[in-house]
Structure formats: structure tokens, C-alpha cells
């Protein structure tokens, strides 16, 4: 990349620097390692990136392989979507928080509407209705208890579903999606104009230890949903690759990138096998990516990821549409690095993570509230989290220049290095036989747990500073009042579901659930894709609960804690 004169000068200056090191610093070694273990020097120069080709390896924003940005013009036109996760209590409680955050500037989207990033409670994550005994203590605690399409009306009434993004965060996607569509149908919104996201974590979820679908069966369910979307809801973002949760479990920057790409390839391969055109399904796959400490490493990871993914989509899947090749990202800044001691300091940490993601050119973002290690965010803390993004987006000039760190010797070197390291791990996974084998063998879980244990030891020993935890501690214990939901939540949810079941035509519900079994068998035994989702929607319309839909699918597709890899502890 550089002419001989520059390289010769650089070599000479590097030698002078080495002499400085000897004379002043007594040849002490000041190299270090990034958080993922990549050795780095005290400074970088032209020689470190000379082997890169400007056109192939760096390029410009908006041109394949899109390393510098998916779009030729991005923040100059509109900055990323500010879309925090929210959801708790009953649907009407969540609606209060939705409206409050919208008033404070949440979620302005690219098409003029808003994004509502809604999270479901833990019982609904695992096909458990609120009236079941296991749900005691969990109803509406970590997400909304929205259990059928009537509840959807309580939560979404008056919201135009063709002009606002509704994100359905729930591991058990099919039942919640079925009820959402049942609600949308009833309200008269055309399916092909609905906007939003489902998670489609049917075949993964090893990062969320609990109960799982057996991954091969889960892949069929995920592919069925994608086929249905490609046919009836082409604007819908059907699949979210949850790299953030992998990071929270312990994955470092390289691992997060590669485990996620491997996951995406698994579902993409499955779709190809199912006969769905890659350019039809690929744009609906999006990533949820963690931005963590080691400020520069995560920016370089993000850039490397864009390049790696675009190349895979182009070369392996033969896609032609730019939107297929784009790494579509929702950034979820780091949670595990936030601390309960001196919690206001988390605002500073999250600001830096937000800045990192902004410098990386992300498309959407959520930043946790400072009380993340304490509980559900209070409204005050949630609004402050919005303000972090608003200050970064609107006050510091981040929207003027795309990929402003492009061309930095360090950033280009580290981006390239992360891509190299990533390719090594991707090969490792291919050698294991791909995603499903790696998942089942516990490879992902083991790597994450080892990293998490190493991180914890470094913190406990003081080797890794965490301000307020192992350094700069204060004696006075701060006692912020945690957020409390309505204690009547469970009782009301149980009453509603009892009434829902009592008022339905049970014979219709039973018939619809039987039809769902037939569809599930067709998917499992005959490879008929796109049949389960319609049957699930009919079951929702026949007033089957989300738990009933889930348990019906479990009659055909294996499910349980035994599919959690490394189930020995």
C-alpha cells in the first residue's frame, strides 16, 4: 500500500524508536494483549499494514465487501435506531413504559415510525403459561406476561403495525409470533406490510441455560418460520443471531463473531436445503452484537465481521442483493461489565460502549440502564440510557464521517488480524462437522465458561481493574430503591388466562392443535417447510395458549434440559 520511500523512512524511524526503548525504557517489554488474547505493540505504522490491498481489504463505505459501512451515506442521513429493550408486568404496564420511552425520543426508525424492542417474561421463553406452578415467582418479572392475541391488543392498541417495528424477544418464537399475527390479522393489517423482528432461536439457545429444542429439530422449525415469512411477510426480519448473549456468557470478541457466523450459516444452509432462494431469506437474518471493553478490539471486530459476512454471503450463497450481504446489526452494549457497586459509574461505561458501536457504524442500538446489575430498570434509569445514545448521536459530530477510524494503522492491522483469527476458529468448527455438532459437543459452552472463569479470576486477583469492585471502592453502601412491578401481575394474568380458556370453543381449539401436530409431523418427516407457522396461527386464532402451542410442538420435536450442551455441571 505504501511506496518504498515511506517504508524506508518507517524502518529508519522504527529503529530510532527501538534505540529509545533501550536507552530510556531499559528495553522493558511494553507489549500487551487485547481482551481476546491478541498480542499488540505499543504503536503501529505503515509497515504493519503494507501487505493490505486498499481496494480488496479496505475500500469505501457502501461498496462490497462493505467493511467500512453497509451504506455509502449512513449517519449523515440518519443515525442508528435507539431501541432499548423493555417489557415487564402485564401488557398494559409495558405499554406505559413504551409510551414513556417514545415520548423521551426512543426508537425513531429509518422509515419514520418507531421501534419497540419488547421482551417476554421467562415462563413464556420456555412454553410455560402463567397459571402453571413453575411460573410462580417469574410472571412478568423479567419481561412482559403477554400470553395471547387479546394481550397483544392491550399492549399494541392504536399502533400502526405497518409503520412501526415490533420486536418480539422470546426464545420460544413460534407461539408468540402466531398470536402476534393473529392480532395483526384481526386488526386488518396486511401481512406483507408488517414490520418487525422475531428471534427464531429455535435451533440455538445454548447461551441461555434452561430448556432447549434438540438442535436438528429446532433448525427445521426455524426454517419453517423463514419459509413462511419469505412467502407471506417479506418485510419481516425473521431471524436474530444472538451474539450478545454469547458474549455475556463469556465469549470474547473473536469467539462472539465466529460462533455467531457459524450459527447464521447453519440456518442459511438449512434454508438452501429447503429450497428457499438465498436472496429471499438472507436480508431477514440480523445480528445482535455485544460492544464491550477493549474499546478498539470491538470496533475492529465489527469491521472484520462486516467483511467476513459479506464475503461468505456472496461466495458461499451466491447472493446478489446488497441487503443480503449487509451485516444488519442491533448493538446491545455490554451488561456483564456493569457493576452493582457505585452503579452510576455504569453510565460512563455504557457511554464508552455506545461510542465504540457508533464509531463502528452500527444500525441500531440498545444501551442498558445503569441499574442493570440491580434489576429491571426504573423509568429514570431507562431514560438516562436513552440520553447516552442521544448525546453520542447528536452532540459530538459522530454523524459527519463514516468509518472515521479507517486508515488508522492500528485499526486496520487489528481488523485484519481479527479476521485471520476468526477464520481459524471457523475452520475448527467446520472440522467438527459444523454448527450442530459444535453445539451438541458443548464446544461453544466450554469456550464461554473458560473465558468467564478466567475473567473472574483476573478480577478477583486485581489483574483486571473494575472501578468500584476491586479498585476505588467506597465504604458507604448505596441502596437505590429497585424497580418493583405490580404485585398483582401474576394473579391478574392467571385470571385472564382462565377466562380466555373458559370462553373459548374447546372443540375448535383441540381441532386446531391436532392440525398443528399434523403440520409438525409433515415438517419433521416429509420436509414440508412453511406448514407449521400457518397451523400455529390457526391454533392461536382458535384460542390455544402460547404454552399449549409450544407443548403441541414438543409432541413431535424433542425438547428439554437434556439438549442443553454440557448438562453435567
Amino acid at each position: 500500500m505504501f511506496d518504498q520511500e515511506t517504508l524506508t523512512a518507517a524502518e529508519r524511524l522504527n529503529k530510532e524508536w527501538a534505540e529509545l526503548l533501550e536507552k530510556i525504557y531499559k528495553s522493558k517489554d511494553y507489549s500487551s494483549k487485547t481482551n481476546s488474547g491478541i498480542p499488540v505493540k505499543p504503536y503501529y505504522g505503515p509497515a504493519d499494514i503494507d501487505s493490505l490491498d486498499y481496494e480488496k481489504d479496505i475500500g469505501v463505505p457502501g461498496i462490497y465487501p462493505y467493511m467500512r459501512n453497509n451504506y455509502g451515506i449512513h449517519y449523515q442521513r440518519q443515525t442508528w435506531i435507539n431501541q432499548p429493550t423493555h417489557g415487564y408486568g402485564l401488557p398494559e404496564h409495558t405499554r406505559e413504559r413504551m409510551d414513556a420511552l417514545a415520548r423521551e425520543g426512543m426508537g425513531g426508525g429509518y422509515t419514520g415510525g418507531r421501534a419497540y424492542n419488547l421482551v417476554w417474561d421467562l415462563p413464556s421463553y420456555v412454553g410455560t403459561d402463567p397459571d402453571e406452578p413453575e411460573a410462580l415467582g417469574f410472571v412478568g418479572k423479567d419481561g412482559v406476561s403477554c400470553n395471547n392475541e387479546e394481550d397483544f391488543e392491550l399492549m399494541l392498541h392504536g399502533i400502526d403495525l405497518t409503520n412501526n417495528n415490533i420486536v418480539l424477544i422470546n426464545t420460544d418464537t413460534i407461539p408468540v409470533f402466531a398470536h402476534f399475527i393473529a392480532y395483526a390479522d384481526r386488526m386488518g393489517f396486511p401481512r406483507d406490510k408488517l414490520r418487525g423482528n422475531t428471534m427464531n432461536w429455535q435451533f440455538t439457545g445454548w447461551f441461555f441455560p434452561s430448556m432447549l429444542w434438540e438442535p436438528s429439530g429446532g433448525l427445521k422449525l426455524a426454517t419453517d418460520l423463514i419459509k413462511f415469512c419469505c412467502e407471506e411477510m417479506p418485510g419481516w426480519n425473521h431471524t436474530n443471531i444472538e451474539a450478545h448473549a454469547m458474549s455475556e456468557m463469556g465469549a470474547n470478541a473473536v469467539q462472539q463473531m465466529v460462533f455467531a457466523i457459524s450459527t447464521a450459516m447453519a440456518v442459511a444452509d438449512s434454508c438452501v436445503e429447503a429450497g428457499i432462494a438465498p436472496d429471499a431469506f438472507m436480508p431477514g437474518i440480523g445480528y445482535q452484537i455485544a460492544q464491550c471493553n477493549d474499546f478498539f478490539e470491538y470496533i475492529c471486530m465489527f469491521r472484520a465481521w462486516r467483511k467476513l459476512w459479506a464475503r461468505i454471503v456472496h461466495d458461499r450463497y451466491g447472493c446478489k442483493r446488497p441487503s443480503s450481504m449487509h451485516l444488519r446489526v442491533h448493538t446491545h452494549t455490554s451488561c456483564y461489565e456493569l457493576v452493582a457497586q457505585q452503579p452510576l459509574v455504569n453510565i460512563i461505561r455504557s457511554t464508552l460502549h455506545c461510542l465504540g458501536a457508533a464509531l463502528s457504524g452500527t444500525t441500531a442500538m440498545e444501551v442498558p440502564a445503569y441499574d442493570e446489575p440491580i434489576g429491571i430498570p426504573t423509568e429514570e434509569a431507562a431514560v438516562l440510557a436513552l440520553r447516552i445514545q442521544q448525546v453520542v448521536a447528536e452532540e459530538i459530530g459522530i454523524d459527519r464521517v463514516s468509518d472515521p477510524l479507517g486508515g488508522s494503522y492500528y485499526v486496520e492491522w487489528l481488523t485484519n488480524k481479527i479476521e485471520e483469527e476468526g477464520k481459524k476458529v471457523l475452520s475448527q468448527i467446520e472440522e467438527m462437522g459444523g454448527f450442530v455438532n459444535a453445539h451438541k459437543s458443548g464446544f461453544f459452552v466450554r469456550q464461554c465458561r473458560e473465558n468467564a472463569a478466567r475473567w473472574r479470576r483476573e478480577v478477583d486477583s486485581g489483574k483486571r481493574t473494575v472501578v468500584g469492585w476491586n479498585k476505588y471502592k467506597i465504604n458507604e453502601v448505596q441502596i437505590p430503591k429497585p424497580f418493583r412491578g405490580d404485585p398483582e401481575t401474576r394473579r391478574v394474568a392467571m385470571e385472564r388466562i382462565a377466562r380466555y380458556k373458559a370462553e373459548r370453543d374447546q372443540s375448535k381449539t383441540d381441532a386446531a392443535l391436532n392440525a398443528l401436530i399434523v403440520a409438525a409431523e409433515k415438517l419433521d418427516k416429509e420436509g414440508a417447510y412453511g406448514v407449521v407457522m400457518p397451523a400455529a396461527i390457526e391454533a392461536a386464532k382458535a384460542k390455544a395458549t402460547m404454552g399449549e402451542i409450544s407443548r403441541t410442538l414438543q409432541k413431535v420435536f424433542k425438547w428439554g434440559t437434556q439438549y442443553q450442551p454440557l448438562n453435567t455441571y
Binding site: E134, D142, F208, S210, E248, Y336, A453, I479, P480
Partner: protein, 135 residues
């Protein structure tokens, strides 16, 4: 660690609770301390008591990321009483706000280990409880 008898800890997480980064890290650290650790996933609080009986555990450690402790702990404590297991200590870890600690202590919880808390405290508690159960 000089224990009179090697303490045995039963760590338990509710099947809906999910996030286990903290409890897994804690288990590694407790094992390093010379404590025998068994981990179970439970559906009902009574399952934990049954497992503690079978394992002859000295301490039960519950991990919560979900805020479900005020529903689950009273049932568990009642079940321990019903089973005459008075000398077993119950501790909790996870996302436990400072604000809730007094009430947990009132319910009979002998140790609370939230994010950033010093896990070394657990060693003393373990020695004390295991020692008391021998005598």
C-alpha cells in the same frame, strides 16, 4: 483450607431462571476452596430440599437472576422445617438488590452474594456450618 469435615454445598437454580455465568464462576471458586459442590436445576422449591437431604448437604445455595426469591424462599424454608433440616444454612446469590437484603435475612438466609461481593466470605460460613453439623 483446614476444615474439620469437607463442607458440602448444593447449588440450585430454577429451571426458568437461565443466566448462570455468576453461579458457574462461584462454583469454580468454591471448589478451589476445597468445598464439595453439587449443582441441580429445580422446578419446585421442595425439589431442592429433597436433593439436599439425599446429598447430605451442609449448605444450600440458590442463584437468582430473576427476582423470584421472595416467592420461592418462604416455601423452601417451610419445607426445610417440615423435614427437620434445621441445621442446614441457606445462602443466595445473583441479582439481589441491597434493598432486599434485610428481608432475606429476616427469612433466615445466612449469606447473600450479589454481583461484586466477596466470595471468600463463603469459606468461613462453610467451615462454621459443616463444623457445627459434625458436632
Amino acid at each position: 483450607m483446614g476444615y474439620e469435615r469437607k463442607p458440602k454445598l448444593l447449588m440450585a437454580k430454577h429451571i426458568l431462571d437461565g443466566h448462570d455465568r455468576g453461579v458457574k464462576a462461584a462454583m469454580t471458586i468454591f471448589r478451589d476452596m476445597g468445598i464439595e459442590v453439587v449443582y441441580i436445576i429445580f422446578r419446585k422449591p421442595e425439589d431442592v430440599v429433597e436433593a439436599a437431604k439425599q446429598e447430605d448437604a451442609d449448605i444450600i445455595g440458590l442463584s437468582f437472576s430473576s427476582g423470584a426469591y421472595f416467592e420461592i424462599i418462604p416455601i423452601l424454608m417451610d419445607s426445610l422445617k417440615l423435614n427437620d433440616m434445621h441445621d442446614i444454612a441457606v445462602v443466595v446469590g445473583g441479582l439481589i438488590p441491597e434493598y432486599d437484603k434485610p428481608e432475606l435475612t429476616r427469612l433466615g438466609i445466612k449469606g447473600i452474594f450479589g454481583p461484586g461481593d466477596d466470595l471468600m466470605r463463603f469459606a468461613d460460613l462453610a467451615a462454621q456450618v459443616a463444623g457445627a453439623r459434625v458436632s
